[in-house]
């Protein structure tokens, strides 16, 4: 996931939609002005998510996960445990997978953050998203965004030489419906 140019292309393509801007206006706590009233010691930050810059005011204690979900309305990234144990909140930061509940939003400025919402290009799904559907690699979908982001990184790290290697490197993402063998199949498909 080093192709910065891809995200820039996305930015251009999405510029007309203003979907994120609309969300910022619609969510009182998300606008810097409103947040300043309610968040006592908030700081103005800029997060670059899925190729777009988002200005927001948050307290330094706000996690990247809660900034994405509660402030930017990017709710595809899920909160499962808030302790780095389940992997549902996995996002890519500069191409590397991290658990967004274990990092603060203020620490992730000047970084390229990719969430599940930023994986497809317009109507074209990422090959791993397609493989998840084809292989039935999810049921309820609660862990799925984290599984897919983790799987994208698992592939780019090269940890896909065998099913056992994938199993090992995907064991930080829990799936309670328990679709593990199908997740392994999907990652193998997409890694080809």
């Amino acid at each position: 996931m080093t192709a910065d140019s891809e995200y820039k292309r996305r930015t251009v393509l999405k510029a007309g939609s203003a979907a994120v801007t609309a969300t910022l206006v619609a969510t009182p706590a998300a606008t810097p002005a409103a947040a300043a009233q309610t968040e006592s010691s908030s700081v103005d930050i800029t997060l670059r998510v899925n190729g777009r810059d988002h200005r927001l005011a948050v307290e330094p204690r706000v996690t990247l996960l809660d900034a994405l979900r509660e402030r930017l309305d990017l709710t595809g990234t899920k909160k499962g445990c808030d302790r780095g144990e389940c992997g549902a909140c996995t996002v890519l930061v500069d191409g590397r997978r991290i658990k967004s509940c274990l990092t603060l939003a203020v620490m992730r400025q000047n970084a390229e953050i990719t969430t599940i919402e930023g994986l497809a290009r317009d109507d074209r799904l990422h090959p791993l998203q397609e493989a998840f559907i084809r292989r039935d690699a999810f049921q309820c979908g609660g862990c799925t965004p984290g599984q897919i982001m983790s799987g994208v990184a698992c592939i780019s790290e090269g940890h896909t030489r065998s099913a056992d290697e994938i199993r090992e490197w995907m064991s930080g993402n829990l799936c309670r419906c328990a679709c593990y063998p199908n997740i392994v199949d999907a990652i193998q498909d997409a890694a080809k």
Binding site: A26, T27, E39, T75, I133
Partner: protein, 710 residues
């Protein structure tokens, strides 16, 4: 026909792109965040609550304690914050409300609660003298004493299993918004209609004033079937403060206020003839109850329904402890089933009869408790299909006979069985003037594939392509339908969906044959064939598309149908291979095959995933899952996912799912039965039986952790 095909999930795109909105994903203008303060004693009283520091936190709007919380009652559960009494550790003792989640959490940590504590009882072993038999929990068939006297071989063993927590990846969440005396709730719910009823009752408003939405659910496993008190409290707070309120439980909070599988002890006695025929089956159990409820959920159904035995005695005892109330958790019959299926393996070794053959010899077409014939049962086929696929005939039964390097290899099996719910349900199907089809019903897709299966059912009934059909679920504005629990969704709702779609088909066919402008005009309606979005004459020489008929009609055609439905019993057989490393006592499950009779299989892809999921739960139950209570404080000491271990990817091998796939004649669901809870039930016993085969060690206490094998 698409029913039966491995159709990809129609909600797949929404789930892999993050577009699917779950309850906690809702953010409403002006919304407040509620956060729970959990008590730290298990028994006693709250003597004071100091909220001054919490109230001083910027952004805090209100702090509720038992002194100022809204007054509420629940017809289902003990309602906290209504008084000072504490019944279990982790009971809600205060709620903070603030404009951001961080502020609410900080305030919660500053609430100071003092208690007058009493000594709690945490586990069954603490209260053995208080074991009792609640009403209607004993069943005796035939003469068990005489059956045991007539036995040539008997096995009597004790088995036990710990509390389990559901742990869906999505935490429980509730977002409440009032408009006058109308309430809208985005709720993590396995049953929006039940939830609507509970909210309406709590606030004494008409049911029609409450709208509950749960279009997506991030796993429930039974834990999201009821509306829990925290959701009612959050809605009451939203009403009192005049703003929408959102409450998302933390993982730790889910270990005390949204139920669990009860701690369970059981004694199984089997009497048999030398040929393996059972003469008596006596199943005595004790499960944990709470101070506020004596409902029990770990039922000995398997002992009463699975095997031919003329003399059966099941006795389900309880003991009240200072712990939260237990509830159903995926496959509640599994706890007792583990004892039965392990005891059968022990009997097979005493008799020297292969464990599959022993079960075959006790096969029955008739419910041994009621004498009624099962509507269909292909369990013998399951034994054969599963055993053949696994290669069971190559098994040397001698324990410890197979080694691979330093590991012992063992093969074990068990029958799988669970009954399923069926509740009256209704559904609407509407074909729009442009020929597209919408179906709505207030049941849920909790991950099991409901959206997909109903899309298939509607498409087949009408004879239109899948992409012409849209299914909407999880909204009380839709026709009322079943709770998604007890493996009941497909069995309960499919019939109504199919009937509504067939009624729309009939109406549209009538529109065509009765209109001179249609190429099908004048043909007998019952001879019209519908396929691929077209209506055909019987010889297929003439046709007209649904789209054209509807365009001419210029208005939608709609039907709402209702149906009552039949309960059922889905069975199967599971075979596992384990490898045991004697140096560490480590057990790995390396192979799994399950063969099932679930009636007709609606979708091989989603049904297959249910098997994988169930098998994986079985691995978790067998090898790692257990909630640990501190006996002095009756407090859960592992309320998180790093110490309450679930099976992870590396724990799960490839699993083969086989289906007999024969329709059940009494099913209203096109021959399908409920199934989701069956393919877990036998796995813990099968793994234990495989460990015995590998090592000669019989472990009767779940989970089979490494310490028990060293």
């Amino acid at each position: 026909m698409t029913v039966g095909q491995p159709v990809e999930r129609v909600d797949g795109r929404a789930k892999v792109t993050g577009d699917a909105r779950y309850a906690a994903d809702r953010t409403l203008p002006g919304m407040l965040y509620s956060y729970l303060v959990m008590g730290t004693i298990a028994r006693g009283r709250v003597t004071s609550v100091d909220t001054a520091a919490a109230r001083a936190v910027p952004g805090v709007v209100e702090v509720f304690t038992h002194e100022n919380a809204p007054r509420l009652t629940s017809d289902q559960h003990f309602m906290p914050l209504q008084g000072t009494q504490i019944h279990y550790n982790g009971q809600i003792v205060a709620i903070t409300v603030a404009t951001t989640p961080e502020q609410a959490q900080e305030a919660a940590e500053l609430v100071r609660v003092t208690y007058a504590p009493e000594t709690p009882k945490a586990v069954i072993a603490d209260a053995l003298t208080e074991v009792y038999l609640p009403a209607n929990q004993e069943v005796i068939v035939g003469d068990p004493t005489a059956g045991l006297a007539a036995a040539e071989v008997t096995v009597t063993q004790n088995y036990s299993s710990p509390p389990h927590h559901h742990n869906p990846i999505e935490p429980h969440a509730t977002v409440a918004q009032w408009d006058g005396d109308h309430l809208t709730v985005h709720e993590t719910s396995q049953g929006v209609v039940n939830a609507q009823r509970t909210f309406a009752s709590a606030f004494a408003i008409p049911q029609t004033n409450v709208r509950v939405l749960a279009p997506y659910l991030g796993g429930g496993f039974g834990g999201k079937s009821p509306v829990w008190p925290h959701s009612l409290l959050n809605a009451a707070i939203a009403r009192q403060l005049g703003r929408p309120a959102k409450m998302v439980l933390t993982r730790a909070q889910m270990y005390s206020i949204v139920s669990h599988r009860a701690e369970f002890r059981q004694q199984v006695t089997l009497g048999a003839k030398r040929d393996g025929t059972l003469t008596a089956l006596v199943h005595l159990s004790t499960q944990q109850l709470s101070r506020t409820s004596e409902n029990m959920y770990s039922h000995s159904i398997s002992s009463r329904m699975l095997y031919a035995c003329p003399n059966i005695h099941t006795r389900q005892q309880g003991v009240r402890l200072d712990v939260p109330t237990s509830r159903f958790m995926r496959s509640p019959q599994m706890a007792s089933h583990f004892g039965l299926e392990t005891a059968l393996d022990e009997l097979s070794y005493q008799l020297g009869i292969d464990p599959v053959e022993l079960r075959r010899r006790n096969y029955t077409d008739v419910n041994p408790t009621t004498g009624e014939r099962f509507s269909s049962r292909f369990l013998l086929d399951c034994y054969k299909l599963g055993a053949d696929a696994f290669g069971w005939s190559r098994r040397n039964p001698k324990p410890g006979s197979t080694r691979d390097g330093h590991e012992f290899v063992g093969w074990g099996m068990a029958t799988e069985a669970h009954d399923h719910n069926a509740n009256p349900s209704s559904a609407m199907v509407r074909m729009a003037a442009d020929g597209t089809v919408l179906s709505q019903t207030a049941t849920q897709d909790i991950g099991t594939g409901t959206y997909t299966v109903f899309t298939q059912v509607v498409a087949d009934a009408l004879g239109v392509p899948l992409n012409q059909v849209k299914v909407e679920l999880g909204d009380t504005n839709f026709p009322p339908a079943a709770l998604s629990a007890g493996s009941g969704t497909i069995a309960s709702v499919t019939g109504a969906v199919n009937a509504a779609a067939l009624a729309v088909r009939t109406a549209v066919v009538q529109l065509a044959v009765s209109n001179p402008a249609s190429p099908l005009h004048g043909l007998p309606a019952e001879q019209i064939i519908t396929q691929h979005g077209y209506l055909f004459s019987p010889d297929r020489s003439r046709r007209e598309s649904y789209r054209a008929v509807m365009a001419r009609h210029g208005a939608p055609v709609q039907n709402t149908s209702s149906m009552t439905n039949a309960r059922g019993y889905s069975t199967g057989a599971v075979f596992v291979e384990v490898r045991v490393d004697p140096r560490y006592g480590r057990v790995r499950v390396t192979r799994g095959v399950g063969a099932y009779d679930a009636g007709r299989v609606m979708n091989h892809k989603t049904a297959g995933s249910q098997v994988i999921g169930g098998f994986t739960w079985g691995i978790g139950n067998a090898l790692m899952e257990h909630t640990v209570l501190d006996r002095r404080t009756a407090r859960v000491v592992n309320p998180n996912l790093s110490t309450y271990l679930l099976a992870v990817n590396a724990d799960v091998p490839d699993i083969q799912a086989i289906f007999v796939n024969k329709p059940d004649p009494v099913s209203t669901a096109l021959g399908a039965r409920g199934f989701g809870e069956t393919p877990i039930t036998g796995v813990p016993a099968a793994i234990g039986n495989a460990i015995f085969h590998a090592t000669g060690r019989r472990i009767r206490d779940l989970p089979f952790t490494q310490d028990k094998l060293l």
